[in-house]
Symmetry: C2
Subunit: 446 residues, 2 copies
């Protein structure tokens, strides 16, 4: 009895740390953004707009109701960048690493909380892993900023340094915020650099690096190029990620962008394939893309990045487990499998739950906004997918929404970000309650 109680109490407390930690950082950020100091016009931002921006930053989404570049002052942008960095690393990881840096001893419970936050497989080595995460993050963000520095300094002078740092962090954290907008050119994202290979390649690499997850990097650093030695999860993530970049890129290349020259067309197709899972930058005018391509982007937005990463969405492993499970059913195999390893039935059940949850949030949110705002359902579904997958791509309707619709998007961003985290508890918790002793009864489906 006592062990179960302790376990449940601890679970509840990890739960609370993540849920309340995210909420606390969001609220603090919103209050800071409300200050006149945060805007270029030195005006007080309404609470709901500050809350929207702070939620979008902490949940590394990138949807905005005010153009980031022109509306917020340097102080406001710095607040947003800090929120992005905190959100990207995870509120809990940051809290734990503060404790680490200050030299305090980390209790088993704290370690376990950190482990939950980054989806690590076991408690052993968690401190080493957190150090690895922090060092890796800052190193990669630095390299990214240096790579983009020449381009931004050419275009913005000394101010280009700040530009390079901001966009490097925003890209690695899969946040999708940009500060390139001006009063004459709102919400540009990276459309000005559609033909610039340096920006394209650097941002894509930052997005992919951030999106495949720290554990995959740990595996790669440990086993180098010996693919067969990787953990099953790393293999699945790498294969799925590659597939989800190449196939949509081919689709976009053949269906869209026929006005661009070949080189730019390849870049545009690749970039728009990489960005929906779940970075949120764009180098082309999204509403001008074909309906089919926007549909494929919605699919990619819902799928999202990989577990234990800065990215959101259902996660590549969830998709892989669902497809493998479908293949197993049709081949009358007992269980889903990858690379000669069997996947637990409880994993398939959790994957089904995640799919159900994301579809319900996505569809419910889109329909609500469509009815409330009297806007076409397809555009609203695009914004809803962008919010629940914490992507940040937009067809341009978000800034015009009324407050209830903005609240729906805030809820989708928050649930999309912490919903997945809370499910991890359910999946990893060893003590289950209740129904095991109920009599079984069969039910026909399909």
């Amino acid at each position: 009895m006592s062990e179960e109680m302790v376990c449940r109490k601890h679970r509840l407390s990890s739960f609370q740390i993540i849920i309340l930690g995210f909420a606390g950082v969001i609220l603090l950020g919103a209050l800071l953004l409300m200050l006149p100091l945060s805007t270029t016009a030195r005006c007080v931002t309404p609470f709901h707009e500050a809350l929207f921006t702070a939620t979008s930053a902490v949940c590394v989404t990138g949807l905005v109701v005010q153009d980031t570049g022109s509306y917020w002052s340097v102080f406001g942008k710095a607040v947003i960048l800090t929120l992005i960095q905190i959100g990207g690393l995870g509120v809990v990881t940051v809290a734990a690493s503060f404790a680490l840096l200050s030299g305090r001893r980390i209790s088993l419970m704290q370690r376990s909380t950190m482990q939950d936050a980054i989806s690590a497989p076991k408690v052993g080595g968690i401190v080493r892993l957190t150090r690895f995460i922090l060092r890796g993050t800052f190193l990669i963000e630095l390299i990214g900023a240096l790579a983009m520095l020449p381009v931004f300094c050419r275009d913005y002078g000394w101010h280009g340094i700040w530009m390079a740092v901001f966009h490097s962090i925003s890209a690695f954290c899969n946040a999708g915020f940009d500060i390139l907008g001006t009063n004459n050119n709102l919400y540009p994202s990276l459309t000005g650099y559609v033909q610039n290979p340096v920006i394209n390649i650097t941002v894509m690499l930052l997005i992919i690096t951030g999106g495949i997850g720290f554990l995959t990097w740990d595996d790669i650093c440990e086993n180098k190029l010996h693919f067969h030695r990787y953990r099953m999860q790393s293999k699945v993530i790498l294969v799925t990620t590659l597939t989800l970049i190449v196939l949509p890129a081919l689709f976009f290349f053949f269906v869209d962008f026929d006005a661009l020259p070949l080189g730019a067309r390849v870049q545009a197709a690749l970039f728009q394939s990489v960005t929906p899972r779940t970075a949120g930058f764009n180098t082309v005018d999204l509403p001008a893309m074909s309906g089919a391509s926007l549909g494929v982007m919605i699919l990619l937005m819902l799928i999202g990045g990989s577990p234990g990463s800065t990215a959101g969405g259902m996660k590549t492993t969830t998709l892989a487990v669902l497809l493998s499970n479908a293949a197993a059913t049709f081949r009358q195999r007992d269980s889903a499998q990858f690379f000669g390893r069997r996947v637990d039935c409880s994993t398939v059940k959790t994957a089904a739950t995640i799919l159900t949850m994301y579809l319900a949030l996505f569809f419910g949110g889109g329909v609500f906004i469509s009815v409330y705002e009297d806007l076409p359902l397809s555009s609203c579904l695009y914004e809803a997918a962008s919010a629940v997958g914490t992507v940040g791509l937009t067809l341009g309707i978000t800034p015009q929404l009324h407050i209830p619709s903005q609240m729906v998007l805030i809820a989708l961003m928050y649930l999309g970000r912490v919903g997945g985290l809370t499910l991890i508890y359910a999946a990893v918790s060893s003590k289950k309650t209740g129904s095991a002793k109920l009599p079984r009864e069969s039910i026909t489906i399909g």
Copy 2:
């Protein structure tokens, strides 16, 4: 070894009977429909159009490329009606009942094939059940025809008898074919009767009766109104069906039809709520409905009717299992449950497979048609959902599609109809192959 071999051989042979049975009836129907005798203009119908119509009829879909009422002769309509009746009862059930009627002894293997075709829970009583199905079907279709007779005879004279019979069978089999079109008014469905309570109520009752499945009726006839004595499956089907009629009806009532008087508005909302799962009649102009309502209809089309019924789609029980599984995950319960009964993990896995399969077919089909025809994605997704769910509702684009897109719709109808049936084998087959001995490895999702 021998037992396993027998089991696999039998499974393969049931498999083949259903797959080839459906395909054979479709091909035969297509050839009959190609005859000049089948059209009012006494012309030879192109093979692909005849194939489309025959597939639509056998899979009880109701999508058409030629207006049924004006294009086909009485002979052609009779062929279509026969195909609907065969498809509705299931090719295999019909074959078995012929054997039953001719007094031949039914082997255990034949019984088992019949059982698979109608999703019956056990072999015992299968002959009784088939008799129950045949008697019930003809009795209810007769009552439906008699109820609609006065209205159709008023409007069409003696020809109204044929009208009443055709629409009664088409409604009970969830086929959605209508013969009300004329050369001046193509593809009307039941829009002429939007304010007629007799037609509305009769057709709705026929659709619901056909859609909740023969096993549910068996349970209801056996246990009368003692709900607590029903099998868990019947309880789940009845509760889910009621919810899926009432909630969408309320949605449609408040979002659409504000031009209609109150009584007609209630009828229109109820009818459009009942028809997408998966009858396919409509009493209002569908393209004039709001985008949000069309989105809700797509959802209903994919969900479909109940197992062991004339309806298609993913099935109400699949939805219920997925929702119960999600609730179980969030509440940290071991397994999904209904009414104090536990659901097997393998059932949840099959439900996840069905959801994955339907989403893939729906999305893939819609995107293909959208790209190939250069039509808006939302309309194409509507037609794809209608085809894969074997619904038959249309925004009017199906008749204008090119041959490759029509082939995609034919494939969706066929896979939507037999895909579910083949999955039943996978689910019920006791002998599984392969992966049980593979080592287990955990994978993080969500």
